[in-house]
Symmetry: D2
Subunit: 367 residues, 4 copies
C-alpha cells in the first residue's frame, strides 16, 4: 500500500482549520488512561482540556494522582492539570476518551453523551447494546450510523462509540481481509495475552512470572461474539451478526505488551495459499478511514519468516497500530492457520479509540 | 483411583528378587541425561552402571563433564563415574536410557539393540519406524509386541522402544481416556511449551524473556502424527494409525518446565460434560502398567478451578508423572475444550522412558 | 559437620512424650501463613489447632478463605478447618505463629502473650522493643532470656519472640560465623530480593517483569540495624548492639523465592582466605539449637564454583533452611567479599519461626 | 542544562559541509554490530560503506548473514549490503566501528589503524594498552592526545580509541561529576546487568529466567580499573590512574537492556546532600564534547522519586545516552549512596563509540 498523504487538518465545521478539538480523558490515571495521555501528546486534531478521575483523585494534579507506568515520561502539559470529577459540565470537551472501569462507565458515559459529547470508549459496558456501534475504522466505519438511533431513542446530543476488546482487534482486522475475499465459516483461536491487558496493578507477579494462566474472566465470550458484531451488516434497527462460529481459548503469559493469537480458519470458497497471503497484503481500510492521523500505513503486515511475529520484535510495527500476521500455512482441519500479533494498549485500547474519534470527526458526528 | 500396592521387586528371571538391573544412560551430560541421573537415583529396580557421552567428554568424571542445571544436587554416586564412549561393549548394561541427539541416536541406538540391550529412547529418530513401538504405558503397552518384528527382521537381540515427544504425552493420555469412551474424530491443539524442552543451552534468553516464539521446528508435524500412532491398533505388520485428524500450533513461552496445551476435541458419540469429566477421572492404566514403580497414582487429575492447571502450581502433581487437566467446558465448534499440563522433562522425557523400561521388564522383554 | 541424631520427641513437661503441642497460625491465609501451614504439615512436635484470619475470613473454611499460592497442594487437614478470629480464648493453643501484618500484630500478639501463649512472630512490630528477643537459633539462642523481663514488666504469662527480616537472616548467620573468629567492624551489603518477600498479591507484574526495582520501603534500615541486635550481647536490661557498622542497598528482582546478597566485610583481625572459608564451613549452631527438628544439617554451605549460589539452583539446600555462601574472595576496600543466598519464605519467615519455637520448647519457655 | 544547538555539519577539512564521512562496521552481524547499524541509520555525519564479518559470513547479503534481534526493523540500505571480510583495503572507510570479539580485535583493529582508519572499538583488547585512550566524551576528551604516541611509536596512520566496558560507563560519568567537585577516595559498586550485555545468543534462558547469576567473567576487574584510567590525568607517556579504590561485585539479572549499579562513595571533601545533587544536575560535558550529534542534552539526570531509576521506565532517557541517577542519600560507611542506570548497548556500546567518533572528527583526528 502506498503511503497516504495524511490529512492533518480536522474538518471542523465551526472553527478555522487547525483549531484543535477540545477532548477529555475519563479515568485518566489508570493504565489505559495513561496511554491516552501519551498518544494524544502532539495530536494534530485534538487538545486535551480535561483529565477526570475518581472522587479521591479529583482536585489533585495529574502528576500527583497518577502512578505513571509508561517508559516515556509524562508529558509536561499533563503534569499540572487538575484531575476533575467525572462530570460533563466541568470538562468543556466535545470528545471524551473513556478509560473508565465497566461499572463507572455505566453511569458516567451516558451523562457525557447526553450533554453533547462524543464518547469513544474502551469499556466493555455498551459493546453489546444494540444501538452502540463497536467500531474498527478498517472494518466497519459505516456502523457509526447507529448513532442516529442513539440520538433518536435516547435523546442524546452526543453519542457513545465503543472499540473492541484488545484481544480481538488484530483478529477482526485479519478476519475482515479474509471475509471480503473468501467468506468465513469457522475459526478456532487461542490467545496468549500480555499482562498490561489486565491494567495496573493487574496481575500479581507471583501469578505470572515463569508461568502461564489459562484463564481470563469473560474474555472467551467476548472473543467469540465481538468479531461477529463488527463483521456483521448494518440494518435499520441494528447490526446483524456475521454468520460464522468462533471457538476461543484465552491465556495470560509473561509478556508486558502485545497479544498473540493462533488462528485456524475455514472459508466459504476455496483459496490458494498465495491468494490468502495476497488478501492480507492487499487489504486497505475503506476510503473514509484511510488517511486519518492514526491510520497505520499498512493495516496488516504479513511476515514471511518461520518464527514471526513475536511480541518483543514486532510489537511497534506501524507505531503499534499495524496488525502483524505470520506463519500462514495450511491447516489439517480447517483451511489455513496463522499467528496474529496486535499491540493491546495502543491498537487494542487507547490508539484504537483515538482512531475511532478521528473517524467520527471525519464523518461529521462530532458536534 | 485407590492407591496401588507398588511392586518394588523387579520380576527378574535370572537373579534373586531385589537384584538390580544394570542400566546405562546414553548422552548423560545433557538436559535430559541429567533428569535420568536424577530420577534413577534410588530407583528400586535399576542401578546405573554406565554414563556415556561424546568423544570429548569420554574419560572425564561425570562431575567434570557435566554442567549440572537441576535444582537438586548431582547424586554422589554419579560424580565420580567416568563418562564412557557410546559403545555397548563398554556399558555392561541390560537396559539403556537414551538422551542422545537425533543424529547420534541413528547410529548408536542400533548398536546397543543389536548387542542385546533394551534401549528406551527419547530421540525422535525411530519414532516413525514401522517396527519401533512408540509407547505410553497408560495408553498402548501392547505395542511392545513390535519388538518381535525388530528381532526377527533386524536380527537384534535387544530392542528399541521410543517414548513420545514431550509435547504430546499429556495430550495422548487425555485423548486415550476420551477415545475409550466416546471415540475421537478431530482435535485442535495449541501448545505453550517450556524452555527446558529445547535442552541446554537451548533457547537464548534474548529470544524468550518477556516474549513468545510461535514456532518450534518440526513440532507441529509430530503433534499431528505421534498421537495417532500411539492411539492406533496393533496389526501383524505394524500399527494402523488412529482414524482422527489433529491440527496443531506450537509456541514457546517463558516457563522453565511444563508444557501446557489448549485442546478442543470432537467425539464420535454425544457425551455430557459430566460424562467427559468422569471419563478422565476414572481413567486407569491397563493392569500391566498400573503398579510399576513410576506409575502415577492418578494418571489424569481433573481440576475444577477456573484458572488451573498452571505450570508453577501443578507441575509436580504425582511427582511430575500425572497429567493435569482443567477448564473442561463446551466448545463452540467441536464438542469440548480443556487445558492440559504435563511435565516435559519428567513425564515427557526421562520419567516416561523409565516408566517404559519398567513395563518392558514386567512384560519380560529385558534379557 | 556430621549429621545429628534429631530429637523428635518434644520435651513436654505436662504430657507424655510424643503428645503434640497445640499451635495456632495467626494470619493463616496470607503468603507467609500458607508457608506455616505447609511446613507444619507432619511436624513431629506441633499440631495446628487453629487458623486465624481477618473478620471477613472468620467463619469460612480455610480452603475457601485462602487463595493458595504454593506449588504443593494444601494439606487435607487444613482444608476444612474453620478460620477463627484473632482471639486467644478461641485458639486453645500454647504456641502461636504469627504471619500478621505489622498493624494487626501490634494489638493481637500482646493479647496472645498475655493469655499465656508463646508467640513466634514474623511481624516487624516488636523487633525493636527492648524486651523482645530477635532470635536466630544458630546465632543468639540465649537472647530468649529477655522473656523474663517481658513477663515481669508486662505481666504476660506467654511471650513474644521475633524472627528477623527475611533479607538479613542469611546475612546474620554468615556474620556470626565470622564474628566469632575474627571480629567485625564494617559491612557493605546489597540485596537482590525475591518477589515473594512482598507477600501476595505484593508486587504488580508490570513493575517487575524484565525489571529491577531499587527500593523496598524500610528495608535498608532493618538491614543496617537488626543484625546488630542479634549479634549483640545480652545485658540485664536488654541487648547491647554489636559494635559494627553496616551500609545497605535493597533491590527487588524478578525471582520467585530466594534473597541474594553481595557482602563486603571488614574484620578486627587479619585472616587468610582459607581461614575465612574454614570459619564458615566449621560453623555450628550452639548445642541447644543443634538437633531440633528444623535445624539444618549444615547451617552454612560454602560453595566453590565461580558462579554460585543462584536462587534457581541452590534455594532448597537443606530443605530451604541452609544459608548458601559462594564467591568468597578478597575485597579491594574491606577484607573479603562473598555472595549469600537464603530462602526468604522458609528460612527467612515461616521456617525460621518454627525453628525459634522449637528452641523455646527446648529451653522450657512454652508453658 | 539548556538545550544545545547541535552541530550537524561535520567539520570535514577535505570535503564540503555535509559530505558524509565513509565508515565501516567491523563484526556487523553480532548484537553490538546491529546496534551500530541501527544507530548510524540517518546519522548526520557518517555514511556506512562497509559491513564486515567472519569468513563464513563474507559474501552474503547482510540480511542473510545476520539474525537481527532488535525490535526496530533492519534499515533498508543495510539489507542488501554484501558482508565483507575484515580487511581495510576493502572497506574504503575513514572511520571504523568495531564490534569484534576480543580475539579478532587483536589482529584486525591494528590492520585498520595502520592503514589510516580511525577505529572506535568496543572490544576490551586494547583498553589497557598505555597508548590507547579509553574515552568518554563527557569525562576525558583530552585523552585522545595519546593517538600521537600511537602514530609515533606504532607507525599507524589511523588510530584506535576504546570505549569503556558497558557496566562502568554510567558509573564513570557519575564519578566524574563528583570528582570535579569533591574529590574521590573510595567507591563500592554492585552491578545488576542486563542479558544483552553478553551478546547473542549469550546467556541461556535456563540460566537466567527467574534467577540471578552472581558472576560475570572478568567484569569485576574491569569495574575496578577502567574508571581509574578514564578519571586519570594525561601525562607525556600515558595516563596516571586516578588515586582512588573501587570494590566491585557483578551480577546478571533477567533484564533485556539496562545495567543498574548500587554505588556508595567517599569524597575527599565534606559535602551536603544538596551539593552532591547539584554537582550531578549541573554536570556538563567539556565544551568540545557538548554539541556533538550524539551528545545527550542532559549527561546526568538525577531523579527524586524513591524507587527510580528502573530499567523498564528510565532506559531510554536521552535516547539511551543519558546516565540516570536516583536514590541519592547518606551512606552509613562512606559519604553517599545512590543508584545508577545506563543503557548498556546504546550508551555503553555502539552509541558510546559513535559519540567518541564524533569527538575524533571534531578534534581533527580523522584523516
Amino acid at each position: 500500500m502506498p503511503e497516504q498523504q495524511k490529512d492533518t487538518h480536522p474538518p471542523s465545521p465551526d472553527a478555522g482549520p487547525g483549531t484543535p478539538i477540545p477532548v477529555a480523558i475519563l479515568g485518566a490515571a489508570g493504565a489505559v488512561g495513561q496511554r491516552f495521555v501519551q498518544l494524544l501528546d502532539g495530536h494534530p486534531w485534538f487538545k486535551v482540556v480535561a483529565l477526570t478521575g475518581s472522587e479521591r483523585a479529583a482536585g489533585q494534579s495529574y502528576a500527583h494522582a497518577c502512578h505513571w507506568i509508561l517508559p516515556s515520561p509524562m508529558p509536561e502539559w499533563a503534569r499540572e492539570m487538575e484531575v476533575m470529577p467525572n462530570l460533563p459540565e466541568k470538562a468543556q470537551a466535545r470528545l471524551a476518551f473513556s478509560a473508565l472501569p465497566a461499572a463507572a462507565a455505566q453511569t458516567v458515559e451516558p451523562l457525557f453523551a447526553e450533554s453533547g459529547v462524543s464518547v469513544c470508549t474502551n469499556a466493555s459496558t455498551f459493546r453489546t447494546a444494540e444501538d452502540v456501534p463497536l467500531v474498527l475504522p478498517e472494518v466497519n466505519p459505516e456502523h457509526t450510523r447507529l448513532i442516529e438511533r442513539q440520538r433518536r431513542e435516547r435523546g442524546w446530543k452526543g453519542c457513545i462509540v465503543a472499540n473492541a476488546n484488545c484481544t480481538i482487534t488484530g483478529l477482526t482486522i485479519t478476519l475482515k481481509a479474509l471475509l471480503d475475499k473468501f467468506g468465513l465459516r469457522r475459526a478456532f483461536v487461542v490467545s496468549m495475552q500480555a499482562i498490561s491487558g489486565a491494567g495496573y496493578p493487574g496481575i500479581a507477579s507471583m501469578d505470572i512470572l515463569g508461568n502461564v494462566v489459562p484463564y481470563i474472566d469473560g474474555e472467551e465470550d467476548k472473543m467469540e461474539w465481538e468479531p461477529r458484531k463488527m463483521l456483521g451488516s448494518l440494518k435499520d434497527s441494528g447490526v446483524t451478526l456475521a454468520d460464522m462460529t468462533i471457538s476461543a481459548h484465552a491465556n495470560r503469559v509473561a509478556v508486558i505488551d502485545g497479544h498473540m493469537l493462533c488462528l485456524s480458519v475455514e472459508f466459504d470458497k476455496k483459496a490458494t495459499l498465495e491468494e490468502v497471503g495476497e488478501a492480507m497484503r492487499d487489504f486497505a481500510a475503506p476510503q473514509v478511514s484511510r488517511d486519518l492521523p492514526s491510520a497505520p500505513e499498512t493495516p496488516i503486515l504479513l511476515r514471511d519468516e518461520a518464527d514471526r511475529p513475536q511480541p518483543r520484535l514486532d510489537l511497534m510495527t506501524g507505531t503499534g497500530m499495524t496488525t502483524v500476521v505470520g506463519r500462514l500455512r495450511q491447516d489439517a482441519l480447517l483451511d489455513y492457520k496463522m499467528v496474529i500479533l496486535s499491540h493491546n494498549t495502543i491498537r487494542g485500547a487507547a490508539g484504537g479509540s483515538i482512531y475511532n474519534a478521528e473517524l467520527l470527526v471525519r464523518q461529521g458526528w462530532v458536534g
